[in-house]
């Protein structure tokens, strides 16, 4: 009988390793073209914006913040722009890691954080009830269909109810740390509902926890990784400006903020004026070089003299 239990333990270990228990399942590379389209089962989470869920979220985010701060260092700049706004707004940010959402939410002043929802891929965060409940309770996620399908709750309705929205227009986390193409959903929502867009640029989340990791890593000396996040001036769609014209403006604003975060405000403004802002999509170089560069955490340079700090 002991061999039975030994074999059972071996089988369990084999399956645990093979099917990555506790992690998302992976598809062999050669089988990727044959993966069926994701199921359209999306769990509605309208309940998650009601008072009871908000109370639970407050507790959950307090705990989350303690864990988050224990694992990474953060530097937040530019929050003063929110003092000049009443909300709701659409926060638009680059997307490199699962750390992006907690970084942005926990950087916001409490009164903003409590009224901010996060647009999340329905096929990823809402495919099972437990993932839907978990992400809704902790992050106040709102399911978005990446393939453009209709969902029970539309982002516009949430904006109309006074909730701000965090949107990652790239639609997915960066594979190499660079910034990808922006889809026009955020620009559409801003134009359609007359809401300003607050661009956000952050750096360091890819270095701390890229795709494939589910817990932040440490730096070479075993210390917490540095993350930086920078909020930019709100953008309003100009009169008569189409979605197609507005969307690139949002991306340019995020690009300039990234440039500012890496250098300084004035230099980035000069480059922007001369249309020389570095493209965050990166140059045409080998992928490993992009990944290499992105795995370096930003240096906050606390002693650097800037024109002014917000």
């Amino acid at each position: 009988m002991s061999s039975f239990w030994k074999d059972t333990a071996r089988d369990v270990r084999l399956m645990k390793r093979g099917w990555r228990w506790g992690h998302r399942a992976q598809v062999p590379r050669s089988a990727e073209p044959f993966v069926p389209p994701a199921t359209t089962t999306v769990f509605d989470n309208e309940w998650s914006r009601r008072p009871a869920a908000r109370a639970v979220r407050e507790v959950a985010q307090t705990g989350l913040e303690a864990v988050f701060r224990s694992q990474v260092k953060t530097q937040v700049e530019g929050l003063d722009v929110l003092e000049r706004l009443d909300g709701p707004v659409i926060f638009v940010a680059n997307h490199a890691s699962h750390l992006d959402t907690p970084l942005i939410l926990l950087s916001l002043p409490d009164e903003w954080r409590r009224r901010t929802a996060v647009a999340a891929a329905a096929d990823y965060f809402f495919d099972t009830w437990w993932r839907a409940v978990g992400s809704s309770l902790v992050f106040n996620t709102l399911p978005i269909d990446r393939r453009g399908g209709a969902l029970a709750t539309q982002p516009g309705e949430v904006l109309a109810e006074g909730w701000s929205l965090v949107v990652f227009p790239e639609g997915t986390r960066s594979k190499d740390g660079t910034v990808g193409r922006f889809r026009s959903g955020a620009a559409y929502l801003a134009t359609e509902y007359g809401v300003p867009v607050v661009p956000i640029a952050h750096r360091g989340t890819y270095a701390a926890m890229p795709r494939g990791m589910n817990w932040p890593g440490k730096d070479r000396s075993g210390g917490r990784r540095q993350l930086t996040v920078r909020f930019g001036e709100p953008l309003h769609p100009a009169a008569g400006e189409s979605v197609r014209e507005f969307a690139p403006r949002i991306r340019s604003a995020v690009s300039r903020l990234l440039d500012e975060d890496a250098t300084d405000w004035y230099a980035s403004m000069r480059r922007a004026a001369e249309d020389r802002t570095p493209d965050p999509a990166g140059e045409e170089i080998a992928e490993w070089r992009k990944v290499w560069a992105a795995t370096e955490s930003p240096d906050p340079e606390p002693d650097k003299i800037r024109a002014w700090r917000r």
Binding site: F4, T8, D11, M15, S30, A31, P33, P36
Partner: protein
Amino acid sequence: MTRPGFVLEVDDRTPPLLVHEGLGFRLEEFPQGTRVIYPPESLPTVPDVEGAIRESLENPVDSEPLRELMFPGMRLTIAFDDLSLPLPSMKAPDIRGRIIEQVLTIAAEKGVDDVEIVAALALHRRMTDAEMRHIVGERVFRSFAPSGKLYNHDAEDRANLEHMGQTEKGEDVEINKRAATSDLLVYVNVNLVAMDGGHKSVGIGLASYKSIKHHHNAKTMVHSRSFMDHKHSEMHSSAWRMGRLIGEHVKVFQIETTLDNEVFGKPYDTLLKREWEWSLRDQATVLGLRRGLAVAPQKMRHKMFHDLRSNYGLTGITAGAVEPVHELTVQRVHQQQRVKVEGQSDVMVMGVPFLGPYNVNSTMNPILAACMGLGYYFNSYLRQPVVREGGVAILYHPLDEGFNTLTHPSYVDFYEEVLADTTDPALIGPKFEEQFATDPWYVHLYRTSNAYHGVHPFYMWYWIAHALDHLGDVIWVGGNPRAAARMGFRSASTLRDALEMASSTVGPSPSITYLRNPPHLLADVR
């Protein structure tokens, strides 16, 4: 949406893969770079089966409608494939029963009184009443069996065999007399794999040993490339010559059906899924099954698997003249099972499951296991074998089920006497075949009991002749060493050991291809 078959390349993301081994299965971690051939998913099935049957009988290919071929006072014989098809047996109602019912409905309307129904089992064992009833359905069984009008073909009943002549190559064509002397012979087929059907149905299914021996021999089998492509198969060429001769004497109305790939019903349907798509429930099912099978006694494991009925759905039905009907059938089978594979490999891996055509409700003895792996699976290719000439076949099967003396009596003597003397298919034929084929006791058991014909184990060995001729080595993972050695093979405990043993033939870093079946697949090797 049916996903096509494809060739997986094992990488660091690939979970362990399922490998069948007799009354069980294992999860195997294949070396990275191993190619794994996955069959296509099930094609859409016919939504209205009764309507499709009716349509095929009313609008046959190159033939008058069945109704017009019938007339009062005629002799009508209906023949059907025996229990070797499909595998596993279908959940009731079996498609053959549904077709026979409609044929009989037309015959009744046309006033046909003289009807007999014959199970075309060639030299296979007689079916029991329960097995026969499962195939034809209760209605047909009750109407015909009690009066002896529904029966198993008897290839040794000299009084009821008709010699119809010889083909241009001198092959004797001798088939069931009732079928040969009928005004109309309706054949109801299940075309599970591409080698079934066509002229093989009547030409072999209703034939005698005298006729069958012309193509069921080592020489013909070695020169059949492949059995799944009847235009390049010596065995099929012979059957086609015979079939055409039969067609000159009796009108044959062929009804061929094709099935999807739903081989297992619940709870075994998980075994058909691609491993990386297993849900937690699937994983729990597999784990539970594996652990359950580990403690279950052999009898219980046998019952667990052999009580299983498949969920096959009908993907198509065509009726009419044999050859054009079969062309359409083969197209559908290819559509369901064909997978394009680029080039051959040094090593071919196959998991031999609990069931083959010749052990339905019986045991998979070592000879049948060899036939299933090196006969059916090895030959399941188009153009060229999956493994290169001189390569190695690695098979999984415990080779420990022993022999069922009710169904396979001559296999015991074949194993103990013939294989102890030689395993060379070319030698065993001339030396031993006649003795087994004409042994009065085996003939008696074949005719009156439920035993395969005395010559049947020879055919199993001829079946693997092409593989033995082609391969450099054959290794059984988990196989009983004595049984493997008796058959001229080697055994290993693990895949790693097997690859180590194979390295003397194919080197230390061979290319490996694993055939992930069931479900059924047909490797189109370019």
